[in-house]
């Protein structure tokens, strides 16, 4: 007989094993869905997960797509680890893009090495300003940061709409909702000729290294961990909770803002209404799939990035509806949450004769 027993302690091995299990289950469920839709499951999975990254260009696109996801998810892991539920990374990304785009537009007809650093810094500051709103409201007015940060996403998109339709729209652009193109000095340099992968990937890698250091080598990281386990304990230990809340939101906002900078000064080169296909929301899946661990997040961002690319390839070559990409993202999260059951419970084989 099999009995389900609660574990005394969550298993560390299972903790890192369940994301792999979730991806595996997603592949199986995806194959079944393809089969039901009338496609050959293995061929479809091949077009979804292998063909898009089979050449140099495809692989560079994977890194390009994973860069903002990784950067935002690293930022979010600071919040999530310390029990702060920042759902509004998309808004922080958008506001970061607005501020850095605004600065880039100021220099639209100028060249100079100093422009790019200012533009990048402006994006980080924009993201921080925007993230500080839910943080301050939470610490001083006890508001719910989930609601505030989420609602601010829509506000940021409306601000962007207003700017690109009105005051910032390209004077030569027949009033279409887009700004001028940025000058080359405001663009992140490309790493290879002919590929779109840009220097923004170094920002993401730097964030990975820094976060690893903070999480595991500093007192702040320890404080975050304790607050994550129990807010009461943190209070009892005398940690300055308010300061930490604001700090993790600022870090998270800066990362999201930088992701916005990467998009507009990287592949896009201007501001328009759609600077991000909801990277800020997808990064939440990435953060949890990566177990809030810096290295885990790298892998998770690659896995989630490929669902975007695969969906396009599968539609082009097999006429599979592109929205299956979103189904895959949803399934990964679903299976991850479901398999977390194994973290806290285990199956025990009991000899029924006893």
């Amino acid at each position: 007989m099999i009995k389900i027993v609660k574990r005394d302690q969550p298993s560390k091995a299972i903790f890192f094993f369940t994301p792999v299990l979730a991806i595996f289950l997603t592949l199986i469920a995806g194959g079944i869905i393809f089969y039901i839709l009338g496609f050959k499951p293995f061929e479809a999975l091949k077009f979804f997960f292998i063909v898009p990254i089979a050449d140099k260009y495809g692989f560079s696109e994977l890194l390009l797509k994973a860069t903002p996801l990784c950067l935002i998810a690293i930022g979010l892991s600071f919040c999530f680890k310390s029990n702060n539920w920042n759902i509004g990374a998309e808004g922080q990304l958008t506001f970061g893009a607005i501020v850095s785009g605004g600065v880039a537009l100021l220099f639209y007809d100028q060249e100079g090495f100093y422009i790019l650093p200012i533009v990048i810094l402006a994006g980080a500051i924009g993201g921080m300003i925007y993230a500080s709103i839910p943080a301050i409201l939470k610490t001083y007015f006890n508001t719910n940061e989930i609601l505030v940060s989420l609602m601010l996403v829509y506000v940021s998109k409306l601000i962007l709409d207003y700017l690109v339709v009105g005051p910032w729209s390209n004077p030569e652009g027949f009033n279409f909702p887009e700004t001028r193109q940025f000058s080359d000095s405001a663009r992140l340099p490309l790493l290879f000729e002919g590929l779109r992968i840009h220097a923004g990937i170094f920002l993401a890698l730097a964030a990975v290294v820094i976060s690893w250091f903070v999480f595991y080598k500093t007192y702040l990281g320890f404080q975050m961990k304790v607050s994550g386990f129990s807010l009461k304990t943190a209070k009892y230990a005398g940690y300055k909770g308010k300061k930490m809340i604001i700090l993790v939101f600022l870090i998270s906002g800066a990362c999201a803002g930088l992701a916005g900078v990467g998009e507009i000064t990287g592949p896009i080169g201007q501001l328009h209404r759609e600077v991000s296909p909801d990277y800020g929301f997808t990064a939440i899946i990435v953060a949890f799939l990566g177990r809030l661990h810096p290295v885990g997040i790298i892998f998770a961002s690659l896995v989630v990035a490929i669902t975007y690319l695969g969906a396009e390839t599968a539609q082009i070559f097999m006429q599979i509806p592109k929205y299956t990409g979103q189904v895959f993202q949803g399934m990964i999260l679903f299976f991850l949450l479901a398999s977390d059951y194994l973290l806290f419970f285990k199956f025990k084989f009991i000899d029924s004769k006893k």
Partner: protein, 356 residues
Amino acid sequence: MHKFLIRSFVSSLVLLFTLTVAAVAKDVKAAFVYIGPTGDHGWTYQHDVGRKAVEAAGFKTTYVEGVPESADAERVLRQLANSGHDIIFTTSFGYMNPTNKVAKEFPNVKFEHATGYKREHPNVATYAARFYEGRTILGTIAGTMTKSNVIGYVASFPIPEVIRGINSFTLAAQKVNPNIKTKIVWAFTWYDPGKEAEAAKALIDQGADVIAQHTDSTAIVQMAEKAGVYAFGQASDMDKFAPKAVLTSVENNWGPYYVDRVKAVANGTWNQKDTWHGIGDGMVVISGLDSQMPSDLQAKVKKLQADLASGKVHSFTGPIYDQKGNLMVAEGKTADDGMLAGMMTYVKGVEGDIPK
């Protein structure tokens, strides 16, 4: 013997010719990039109807739907150009810069961008429809059918395309009913059923008994049906979504153009151009007229349609005044395409200001 030789020579020539034509026709592959889902019953739906016409003409087609105007558009375009497509139609304004960028890298692939103005490389053409001609018809109907003399108009973005539509609509309505006022609500979206329905509700609450729309979902006609006011379908025939409310629809008919352009690639006659077709060329189609419209109105609309098609009537014929009473187009003159392309002022009779 000679006869036999000649005959076989001729017949083999004919055979060769047919084979080549067939081979060429089969070889050309067209791709379509869509902003929304093919089932939106509006903008993308109609482009997909056009794509099916290309298939029916014997060509292979591919499409990718729901492509955001973010950095992703460029990748999709490059992938399509890289995978053996000879002509790629990009059907949303936001694809303009990626289209031109990718076109530079693939000089042998033809690119057709809808509603844009940039043709930076010889292999980029642009196309759009003179929807304002259809709105002249809708204005005529609205001006006749309204009892409250307040006409509602749900608009998307304050760009010349939309302003032109509002003006064309209002001018036509004033012609049949000088007392009408056009009230505008800006939804700042092309497709958002929730927002569109709210906008329509706001207009109905302000006394509008005919609602026109320049957004793509069926939410507005459905809201009109519920409220018992009239409305017009946008992009596709929306009669089946609101049989009582919808008086007629202005349909976007891309099929003939798409077939034409793909055939031109097959024949090697494709050239760069900027196409702006209206009712006369069949790119703008008026759906069947609702039986609630009196028969003399129906006759009038039919005649107007024919006159717009032949060019006898122009949607923007002077005298046209702006909201402040300044003359925009002098008596007897018509607005030229340059003026239409950059139109950013309301005509007299439109209420409110253009959002800035």
